[in-house]
Symmetry: C2
Subunit: 230 residues, 2 copies
């Protein structure tokens, strides 16, 4: 199970959020007091769809997937890496999670009492402004996602997914990625079998090399073309 500790010093924490630079020492100490650190193991759930929002979640270390659960299938919205807050919009909105977050590698999450956190933003306009920008950017990302799902078909969507991992998550043309084929499919909004099939197609077409969960993109421009065409 997840192990819980208390922060020793948020101020000197090597994993601290860059947003903390917008707060003074007093407020950072208050955060520390209102914070617990939870160490999640790979596969453990950090927050669960349809439950109450009680904390602001900051991913200090690790990688998680954020996804919408459905009756028959899930939709993975994004992969979040360390140094980011998870789902700020739920703090200012309905206060019910409309998604689930699960660790895809061992992760360290700072959980800050949500009432305290929201009050803190009210006292610190610059901090709030930054958060508003983050929420807005995240909203725009979901717009892109909904648009892609609506407009593109399988090959285009899988191209999107490969590019997302290459450009946004691993920032490299070759990477060993952490998702199973099923998760890859859930990210691309398609069945697992079709994700596998299209990966094979792309490999046979000389666009990528795959070996297990290792992917190397040989023709990134062609992949971008495929993403555009849809």
């Amino acid at each position: 199970m997840a192990r819980i500790t208390k922060p020793e010093s948020c101020m000197r924490c090597p994993y601290k959020s860059e947003y903390l630079s917008l707060l003074d020492a007093k407020d950072i100490n208050l955060i520390q007091e209102n914070c617990i650190i939870v160490h999640f193991r790979k596969g453990e759930t950090i927050c669960k769809q349809n439950t109450d929002v009680t904390h602001a979640l900051y991913l200090a270390k690790g990688t998680v997937k954020k996804y919408i659960e459905g009756k028959s299938k899930n939709l993975i919205l994004k992969i979040i890496s360390s140094g980011k807050y998870i789902g700020l919009q739920t703090l200012f909105g309905t206060l019910i999670y409309n998604y689930t977050v699960t660790a895809i590698e061992d992760s360290m999450v700072c959980m800050i009492n949500s009432n305290f956190f929201v009050e803190l933003t009210k006292q610190n306009p610059e901090f709030l402004f930054k958060i508003t920008q983050t929420i807005s950017t995240s909203t725009n990302y979901v717009y892109k996602k909904i648009s892609d799902i609506n407009q593109k078909q399988l090959r285009g969507r899988l191209a999107d997914t490969i590019l997302y991992f290459s450009e946004t998550v691993y920032k490299s043309n070759e990477f060993e990625f952490k998702l199973t084929r099923r998760e890859l499919a859930e990210f691309s909004s398609m069945s697992m079998e079709n994700a596998v099939r299209i990966l094979t197609e792309y490999r046979k077409e000389g666009i990528i090399i795959t070996k297990g969960r290792y992917i190397k993109i040989l023709q990134p421009d062609l992949l971008r073309k495929l993403s555009e065409i849809g």
Copy 2:
């Protein structure tokens, strides 16, 4: 073409946003100075996907549709009625519209210089907080939409759409709605022909009555059931 005027008095305007109550007279006057009123006729475009964001948009009067344009088909995200801001998240995000907004009835839009507006939020934490809440709520709505599109099939999605108009837009079990069948389909993410077919099915099943663009819901509970089942 759209007719442009200057506001006479935002303070005494009967259509003014409730958010203005969070600002003092000085700031409301500043808004007035930085604002032009544009009167759009039905069918005219208020802001266009992929263009720069230069103004905050407030819908004082009328009704508009907000949609994502695609190569072959559009996806209508929501119908916005008077008294709401349109797309606040683009002001704090990329500054490029990732959607298009078009009037579906004659509309009056207050366009406030975006740099001024953003600065104003920085000076007024309560105002900013309210806006952040609005953006967050809107984000949660898009989450719901993307989830529905991903999980449900045609009949479930059309049930969602009818319920949306009944519960959110017209707040009644019978209404003459303003969208064409094509737009109804674009809202439900399906082809126009299938939207028509399912409307006919629902009529034959005694769930609704339709006559042109008039709809009366006979069995709202059944419709909700269909929405749930997907």
